[in-house]
Structures are given as structure tokens and as C-alpha cells.
């Protein structure tokens, strides 16, 4: 497992409460796991002509386009 560092940041209380609720609603173990997931998604995305999509999602789209014969 990759080494972790401890970071302390202040965020608005209402945002924190929303994050806690969202983490619970979406089945994450705790808010820490949820925040790591969100940040990873954000960092791994590319700006794609007005929409943000991950490299993984872009590859999925290409797979379908290949399967349908639109690209080689």
C-alpha cells in the first residue's frame, strides 16, 4: 500500500456535513474513503471539450465505437 501522509485542512462546516451524508448515502466506509475517491476522480480526469471525463471512461467509449465499427 502506498505511503500516506496526514494533511489537515479547514473546510466549511456545511460542506463537511454534505460530504458525510453523501459518503453514507453512497455506501463508502467513512468520509476519508469518500474524499480520497472524489479527489482521485478529479485528478485522473481530462478536460474534454466542455465535459470532464476520466481516461477510463474515454476508453470505454472508444471500445463501443470500435465494436460498432466506427473506429479501427
Amino acid at each position: 500500500m502506498e505511503e500516506e501522509i496526514e494533511v489537515k485542512i479547514s473546510i466549511p462546516k456545511t460542506l463537511y456535513e454534505k460530504l458525510v451524508k453523501e459518503a453514507e448515502d453512497t455506501g463508502f466506509k467513512d468520509i476519508r474513503e469518500f474524499i480520497i475517491y472524489v479527489l482521485e476522480q478529479l485528478v485522473e480526469t481530462s478536460d474534454f471539450e466542455g465535459e470532464v471525463m476520466s481516461k477510463e471512461d474515454e476508453e470505454k467509449v472508444k471500445e463501443r465505437l470500435r465494436a460498432l465499427g466506427y473506429i479501427d
Binding site: 453512497t26 474534454f48 471539450e49 466542455g50 465535459e51 467509449v61 466506427y70 473506429i71
Partner: protein
């Protein structure tokens, strides 16, 4: 350059992963309403960003703005209200703020937050959107048959509906990736619900001369009796592309969207939707999305004057005819000859020939296209 989606961001309201699983497991406990297949299509279009920037069915303020000003409250052009109609008894006991499940054939399609419940005047809707209250107009007739209340609110897609032509349908994110892969910077989109005749081919090629690529975008969805069936349209276009277009300049993809026959307003709607698919230009036909004689032949062109901020360039290409003196396809802007030399390509005449099993003359329809259509036992919608 591929344009940004309408409103700047391609909407994605498709639930995936854990969140979808949790909401699906809770779906049976939430109140639900059944929706028609046409509304399912609207839900899919919202979720996949076809209707960006809409994230759900219109709230009343947006509805009123669209109806009278053809713009959303944030001033973005939008001409066809996307609304969810319900019967009062279907939503008895429900209130604003509640979550409901939208079901089709018992299957949960989407979760919707009811943010507003409001009434509507269907006759006024028809007057504004269709410019007629005549129940013989197919769009007006459908409007009159809709339910009495509207609910506004955001949706999230839980399940995709299987469509017989799903392998023919591409969504905006897919065409955008595709155009990027093809390195196209200018893309002209062509809306159709017909098999191609020589006039269509002429218009498409005239536009393609100045663009990197052509998106032929047949509308898959509700059609009126007498229209060609979707699979016939695709087969006919494949024959045309195979025999008469260079490789790698055309994308043929279906668009799952309802047809309203709202003439000029729908021309703008079609252009906005094609912008979301990544097109830079949109061919607007004479009497585009019209039916009968409810709209003037060039009304669908004139309305674009009101939308300089659309973000996609309309191409007004005049109707093509065969000119015996020119010896080829032409239009009134480039051909000086009189009517005695011009042969108009009539869709009605072509339809009659196809119904009688006859191959139309080559100046009207390519033989490969006609033969493909005639291979179908029954090419028309009933």
C-alpha cells in the same frame, strides 16, 4: 473546433456503481409513476446530455420562458418545452421535495426529485409551440392527449431501455470522442426521417464540400404513419454511403429523440441538439420539421435570425432539383433555367413508386438505394 455543449457542460445523469445499486435497492420502497415510451426517450435524452443543459423536466418558470420567449430563465435558447405530464390521482399524496421512481413496463427507469407540481394550458402550449390549435396537427393531437399536471425536477437514470436499434444509436459523448478520433474540426449535421433521394445527397455533398465530416443523423423514435421505418432508413443510407461517398467523411448514427413536427421551433431544437453531439454546422431544410401546410416554406430559416447566440451555424441550402439543361442536380440559386427544364424530386411521388414496387428514375434516387428499400416487405410505418 468541436463546440462546447449548450450551456457549457455536457450533462451526464446516468447513475453507476454503488450509488446506482443503493438507489435501485431502495426503488421498491419509493412511490412511483408509470411513464410512456415517449417520456422514457426524454429521460434517456436528458441523462445522456442530448438535451444539455437540462438536468430534468422543466420547472414552471423555465416552462413559461420557453413557451413565450423560446429561452430558459438563464437566457439560453431553448424552444421545445421538455415536460413530464401526470394525472392528479397518480401523484396524490406526493408533494414537492419527494423522490419518485419513473417506471416503464414496471421497470424502474429513473429517480426524480419532485421540485414543482403545476398546471398547464394545453391549448396555449399548442398555440405557442405549434402555431396552431388544430387537432389534426400530429403534435397538437399528441399534446391534447397528455395528462393534466406537469411535474418539474431533476432526474437520474437507473436503467437504460433496450431499443431494437440500440447498436445504431450514438450518444453525444460518443460522437464527440469519435470526431476527436477522426480529427474533424468542422462537422455538418443532417437531420432526417426519410430515405435518401438525390436531392438529399446533393444538399449533403454541398455542405460537406466545406466541412471535415458529415453526421447523417436519422431520428429514431415516434413517427407518423406513412413515414419510412427506421431500419429501412439506415439500410438505404448505408447503400448510398457505400456507393457514393468517399471513405471516412461520413458518420451515420441514429438519434433517439421524439419528433414533434413543430416546424420552425423544432428546427432550432434540432440545431441545439446537434451542437450537443459536437456538430459545428446544421443543415436546415425547407419546411424543416414541418407537416402539412402549417408553416411557411422558409419559416424554419427565418427563425434563426432570433438566435445569434445559438453556438452552431445553420446552413440554409435551397431545395435541389434535376435540371435537364444543366444535366445534373442544381438549385434555384445556381441554375438559370426555367421550370420547363426542372424536375422536382417529390417525396410523395417516390413513396408511391416504392409502394408499387417500382425503381424510381436515377435522377430521383440512386438505384442501389431503391433496390435496398424494395428488399423490405413493408418499408412504411402504419
Amino acid at each position: 473546433m468541436i463546440p462546447r455543449p449548450h450551456g457549457g457542460r455536457l450533462i451526464n445523469k446516468i447513475l453507476t456503481g454503488k450509488k446506482r445499486e443503493i438507489l435501485l435497492s431502495e426503488a421498491s420502497e419509493l412511490p412511483s409513476i408509470s411513464i410512456s415510451f415517449e417520456r422514457v426517450i426524454d429521460v434517456m435524452d436528458i441523462a445522456h446530455g442530448v438535451f444539455s443543459p437540462l438536468e430534468g423536466f422543466l420547472f414552471q418558470e423555465d416552462y413559461i420562458n420557453v413557451l413565450y420567449d423560446m429561452r430558459l430563465t438563464n437566457d439560453l435558447p431553448w424552444t421545445i418545452p421538455i415536460v413530464l405530464d401526470v394525472d392528479p390521482e397518480e401523484i396524490s399524496g406526493l408533494k414537492e421535495g419527494d423522490d419518485i421512481i419513473l417506471r416503464y413496463n414496471e421497470e424502474p427507469i429513473a429517480i426524480m426529485k419532485i421540485e414543482e407540481i403545476y398546471g398547464w394550458d394545453k391549448k396555449e402550449y399548442a398555440r405557442q409551440v405549434y402555431k396552431t390549435t388544430d387537432p389534426n396537427h400530429p403534435g397538437v393531437s399528441k399534446t391534447y392527449n397528455r395528462k393534466e399536471l406537469l411535474i418539474g425536477g431533476t432526474i437520474d437514470l437507473l436503467n437504460e431501455i433496450k431499443h431494437p436499434l440500440e447498436n445504431r444509436i450514438l450518444w453525444p459523448i460518443e460522437t464527440r470522442v469519435l470526431f476527436k478520433e477522426k480529427k474533424w474540426r468542422t462537422i455538418v449535421a443532417f437531420q432526417t426521417r426519410n430515405v435518401p433521394h438525390r436531392g438529399h445527397e446533393y444538399v449533403q455533398k454541398a455542405a460537406l464540400t466545406f466541412a471535415d465530416g458529415l453526421l447523417i443523423h436519422p431520428l429514431v423514435g415516434w413517427k407518423k404513419p406513412g413515414d419510412y421505418r427506421d431500419e429501412v432508413i439506415f439500410a438505404a443510407y448505408e447503400a448510398l454511403i457505400k456507393h457514393y461517398y468517399p471513405k471516412n467523411v461520413v458518420v451515420l448514427a441514429g438519434l433517439l429523440m421524439n419528433m414533434n413536427y413543430a416546424g420552425p421551433r423544432e428546427a432550432i431544437h434540432h440545431a441545439i441538439v446537434r451542437k450537443n453531439f459536437g456538430a459545428t454546422h446544421f443543415i436546415v431544410g425547407r419546411d424543416h420539421a414541418g407537416v402539412g401546410d402549417y408553416y411557411g416554406p422558409y419559416e424554419a430559416w427565418e427563425i434563426f435570425d432570433e438566435f445569434p447566440d445559438l453556438g452552431i451555424t445553420p446552413l440554409f441550402i435551397r431545395e435541389a432539383f434535376y435540371c435537364r439543361k444543366c444535366g445534373g442536380m442544381a438549385n434555384e440559386k445556381i441554375c438559370p433555367h426555367g421550370d420547363e427544364y426542372r424536375i422536382k424530386i417529390s417525396g410523395t411521388k417516390l413513396r408511391k413508386m416504392i409502394m408499387e414496387g417500382k425503381i424510381p428514375p436515377e435522377y430521383m434516387m440512386r438505384p442501389e438505394v431503391a433496390e435496398t428499400i424494395l428488399k423490405f416487405k413493408d418499408p412504411f410505418v402504419h
